[in-house]
Symmetry: C2
């Protein structure tokens, strides 16, 4: 596979894992509630995604950087909603 095709696979993977995260963010926004979301789990998850973002920058993998930047933004949004609305 060419580097372009490898990146394309990375972007497909990034799109799918990020899309699967959107319904949670949307539900949290619509219901103004994040009752089913564990605060501890989210704190760990957000630390992990931040770590992946740093790792992606260090190995210069654009798909890893883009995927984790978007996921980090969505996860931080859900965390803020959780802290505001409980």
């Amino acid at each position: 596979m060419t580097p372009f095709e490898i990146d394309l696979l990375g972007y497909c993977a990034a799109t799918l894992t990020t899309i699967s995260f959107v319904p949670q963010a949307w539900l949290t926004w619509k219901t103004r509630s994040a009752h089913g979301v564990s605060l501890g789990m989210y704190a760990i998850f957000i630390s992990g995604v931040a770590g992946w973002l740093g790792y992606g920058i260090l190995i210069a993998s654009t798909p890893v950087i883009v995927a984790n930047a978007i996921t980090l933004a969505l996860a931080l949004f859900i965390l803020v909603m959780k802290l505001r609305f409980g």
Copy 2:
């Protein structure tokens, strides 16, 4: 940073994002129920994780491979529980 330190960051990130996934798998196993889990979302997520696994192999990133292999196993387990117990 040395390649070893970069890999170490990747493994830390992998450990954190995988750990944050375990409570869902555990809750699903304990309650024999995956009521709060959307089937469509899981199908998309699993496709994405499988894509990341392929991408990790192609860019030869061991942290990406290990993280996504474990996440894929956990997500498939939750999916099977969902299909069996609803």
